[in-house]
């Protein structure tokens, strides 16, 4: 509460300047700050944002001059604007004090042992699961000491780095704070890795993502502008890990450091959730009268993807009375389907991972429509892996990592062109061959369990060399 008051105090004193400075990025920074900073810091930084331009500009240049000899690639990001400053300031005081004190002594020379620290943007729960906790699980299974922290939790991150031998930054942008993290990593002689699982760093490619069109223009521009902060981080790291072979290729245009494939896998939680589902739900049989198609949508950002199969689905629902549709998560356009088909279309909001996994037991076919574009080429095959754990067959657009993992008509069904005709024929093929579909589901399950789980995986899923070379 005192944090909110500290903002209001400054805002009320300078109402006009405050209003002039409110934009999405600043509000986001404020929300982070409310979560992680003390009220004094918030008040100071907020005041810095709205105080006179000249004063602030002078501060910035002095701070830059002070750090000029220490920060390797600082010049790439000019911190001229006040807004940049605000965005980049949150709170590096703690780490700066530590860094300056120890910078007077010798840097660490010979690193002994093995300990991995993951310093990550943990704001998206699915990213935390797939890119952070999964790594921790895999490393722990290999008996390698490791831990993780939120990158804005500076004391924890800094402490982890002190005993680490390798640090992996996940999805954090270049900022004043990350610049000191990099410096500290170099002082400690750590091997520095960067993990990224979406092409957020590639402005040109990211722009092609039609799913972004649901954002307003300014929001989209903001997102695209930030891509350079990610590039800046990637270029300063000793190695990079990423989730799909295509992303590996994209990344190789940005860095000469080694890039390792580290796929999203089915982890102990996923396996456990599948197990719970198997224990608590009865498997649907081939003899059921109805046929249920399931669409699982992780976020709002799949609207354009869903539309690629929407008209085919409409036509199927109109033609086949026994076909029902279950939709989990966000899908605005699905609501229109519900209006027409009432009880034949069920909408289930996303609640938690275990409930989410149990919905696979309610369906006969998992449908994954995706736009075929460069952005989706980067996509991993999580939704296929998940449904396969419960031996539910998948029909999916021929794009992304699905292409590498699924064998057409053996462990899944591909739609190559996304045409309405192809989608309709594909779905019909599945509806009419229920026995084949059961086999397809079992094949998929075997394949996933053999090569794409944290318990059993091969170098195709996580490139083994990383354990010898980087950890």
């Amino acid at each position: 509460m005192s944090k909110v008051l500290s903002i209001l105090k400054v805002a009320l004193r300078n109402p006009i300047k405050t209003l002039a400075k409110i934009n999405i990025r600043n509000i986001r920074s404020l929300l982070y700050a409310l979560k992680y900073e003390d009220s004094n810091t918030i008040e100071n930084n907020f005041y810095n944002l709205i105080k006179l331009d000249q004063l602030n500009a002078a501060d910035t240049s002095a701070a830059q001059a002070d750090n000029a000899h220490k920060q390797s690639n600082q010049a790439i990001v000019p911190l001229s604007k006040q807004d940049e400053e605000f965005y980049n300031t949150w709170d590096d005081k703690y780490i700066i004090k530590h860094y300056n004190e120890l910078d007077n002594l010798d840097s660490i020379q010979n690193v002994i042992g093995r300990n991995i620290a993951i310093i990550a943007d943990l704001n998206l729960p699915q990213c935390k699961k797939y890119r952070v906790i999964q790594k921790i699980e895999l490393l722990k299974r290999k008996n390698i000491q490791c831990d993780f922290s939120h990158w804005l939790d500076v004391p924890r991150s800094l402490k982890l780095m002190q005993t680490a031998t390798t640090v992996i930054f996940y999805r954090i942008p270049y900022s004043k704070l990350s610049a000191v993290y990099l410096n500290e990593a170099i002082r400690l002689s750590l091997n520095v890795g960067y993990d990224i699982d979406d092409p957020i760093f590639d402005r040109v490619l990211y722009k092609k993502n039609e799913n972004l069109n649901i954002l307003d223009k300014k929001e989209k521009a903001e997102l695209l502008k930030n891509s350079r902060h990610y590039v800046n981080m990637i270029r300063q790291c000793d190695f990079v890990t990423t989730s799909t072979p295509y992303l590996k290729t994209v990344l190789s245009r940005f860095t000469k450091s080694p890039i390792y494939l580290w796929r999203n896998l089915m982890d102990a939680q996923s396996l456990n959730a599948a197990d719970i589902t198997k224990n608590t739900s009865t498997r649907r049989s081939e003899k059921e009268d109805d046929f249920v198609i399931g669409y699982m949508s992780g976020s709002r950002a799949h609207e354009a993807d869903f539309k690629t199969a929407k008209s085919a689905l409409l036509s199927i629902l109109r033609q086949y009375d026994h076909v029902n549709l279950v939709i989990v998560g966000y899908a605005d356009s699905a609501k229109q389907l519900q209006q027409e088909f009432k009880k034949r279309v069920t909408l289930i909001p996303f609640s938690n991972y275990y409930d989410y996994m149990s919905t696979y037991a309610k369906i006969d076919l998992n449908i994954i429509p995706l736009l075929i574009n460069e952005f989706n080429e980067c996509k991993s095959a999580i939704r296929f892996l998940e449904s396969s754990l419960l031996s539910i067959p998948t029909i999916v657009s021929h794009v992304g990592d699905f292409k590498n993992i699924i064998e057409h008509k053996v462990s899944g069904y591909f739609i190559y062109t996304n045409s309405e005709k192809e989608w309709k024929e594909g779905i019909e093929w599945c509806i009419k061959r229920r026995k084949n579909m059961t086999e397809m589901g079992l094949k998929a399950e075997n394949g996933v369990k053999k090569s794409y789980s944290t318990i059993e995986y091969d170098s195709q899923s996580v490139e083994n060399q990383i354990f010898e070379r980087e950890f």
């Binding site: 530590h98 002594l105 010798d106 010979n110 031998t165």
Partner: protein, 418 residues
């Protein structure tokens, strides 16, 4: 390019060295020994050393870590909380957790523990659980006496051989917490593979108090040898040196009392103002002394500047009123051809030869023993005094060589046992 410096994962000579203080804040004799030994173990015997120590800075969160490199080794310093407690000084699970993490990362083969008050002994459980060969050098009486030096409430050495907890009950502030401490520390001591002592005397004290003699070895402390250019500054008057400060236990009162009875004035009393290290001064205590001779106050010396002190004295006064575990000053003086007047106190006398390089007096309130020894000095000619026994003094090279051999032998013995 990936870095290829992570070569040490399989080294068999990885050592965790633990001491409450470490450079850049070198404080106390054990700290100096730990620093000098680590430097030589690393450079002469190729050990991979990680030092764990502490610091205190309330502007960081408690248990914040700072890793840095100093004196050729990597150091991880743990920030101790601002407010400690009786219990936290000997038992600290937070620090044990930090150790567990470090052990699992580094996978050391050995741990060498020095002074650990304030670090607490709980981390030894983590070493034991991870089967790390653990060597403890006992520099003082912290493990068997909550007052650390067997100096009682009244400021006197307690002279117990086998410590009777019934006697200690009258000396401590709180009996039950004292008992809990002893119980806990004894349990931890049972997890140590080998005990080292800076003197035979100190070894015997701990054997008398229940430590298995088979696990106890003497590994005499080394000392800093004089520089090759070291040469005493000649003087017509005798110069007596004292490094102890105005504490009863170091014999300060006895010195002033004895000199007040010396009717000569052809001498100088050279005292080191050790309190300056802590931002204070002892000079007032000496300036007002009523003695005939001249008093000269010298600033505190470091390992590198000690020659500047010793070259100005002929006799070192060491009338310590307790039984020291080693007696670093006495050895530093002996190798610099300085005559010693020392009480018969513990490890101090083990390199002294009565009448040849020193005069040994009893621990006593009576200043006449000291007076007699001082007066004898006026009949000696110190200008050409040469200590014939100085080659017997252990150097840091000797100590680290011996420690290296001990660690390697221990590895074989413990492997054989298991």
């Amino acid at each position: 390019m990936s870095k290829t410096k992570y070569l040490n994962v399989n080294s068999k000579k990885k050592l965790l060295s633990v001491n409450v203080y470490y450079a850049p804040k070198s404080f106390g004799g054990a700290t100096v020994v730990a620093e000098e030994i680590n430097l030589r173990l690393k450079n002469n015997f190729n050990w991979d050393i990680t030092v764990i120590t502490t610091f205190q800075d309330k502007s960081y969160y408690p248990y914040h870590l700072k890793k840095y490199r100093i004196k050729d080794v990597n150091v991880i310093a743990i920030n101790l909380p601002e407010h400690s407690s009786y219990e936290l000084i000997y038992r600290n699970e937070n620090i044990a957790d930090i150790f567990a993490n470090i052990i699992k990362s580094i996978k050391p083969n050995f741990a060498h523990i020095h002074s650990i008050q304030h670090i607490g002994s709980s981390f030894i459980n983590a070493l034991h659980a991870n089967k790390i060969r653990t060597v403890l050098t006992i520099h003082d009486c912290w493990w068997i006496c909550e007052r650390q030096f067997m100096i009682n409430k009244a400021g006197r050495y307690c002279f117990q051989k086998k410590i009777d907890p019934m006697a200690c009950m009258y000396c401590v502030d709180d009996i039950s917490r004292f008992e809990k401490r002893s119980e806990y520390l004894n349990e931890v001591l049972s997890k140590i593979d080998l005990f080292l002592f800076p003197s035979d005397f100190h070894r015997q004290v701990h054997i008398d108090n229940g430590i298995d003699p088979k696990k106890c070895m003497t590994n005499k402390n080394g000392i800093m040898m004089p520089s090759v250019n070291y040469k005493k500054v000649q003087s017509k008057i005798i110069r007596f040196g004292f490094t102890g400060g105005p504490g009863k236990i170091k014999g300060y009162e006895l010195i002033l009392e004895a000199f007040s009875k010396v009717a000569l004035n052809n001498y100088e009393l050279v005292v080191v103002d050790g309190a300056k290290n802590l931002g204070k001064s002892w000079s007032h205590a000496f300036k007002n002394a009523k003695i005939e001779g001249k008093i000269r106050i010298m600033p505190p010396y470091t390992q590198n500047t000690m020659d500047d002190f010793y070259k100005h004295i002929d006799v070192l006064l060491f009338p310590s009123q307790w039984k020291e575990s080693f007696g670093l000053t006495v050895r530093e003086a002996l190798v610099r051809d300085i005559w010693i007047i020392s009480t018969n106190g513990g490890g101090t006398t083990e390199d002294l030869v009565e009448g040849e390089n020193s005069h040994i007096i009893p621990i006593s309130d009576n200043s006449d023993y000291l007076l007699e020894a001082i007066l004898e000095c006026f009949d000696k000619n110190f200008q050409k005094f040469d200590n014939k026994y100085k080659q017997n003094i252990t150097t840091y090279e000797d100590q680290s060589q011996e420690l290296n051999d001990i660690l390697i032998a221990l590895d074989q013995i413990v492997s054989h046992d298991s």
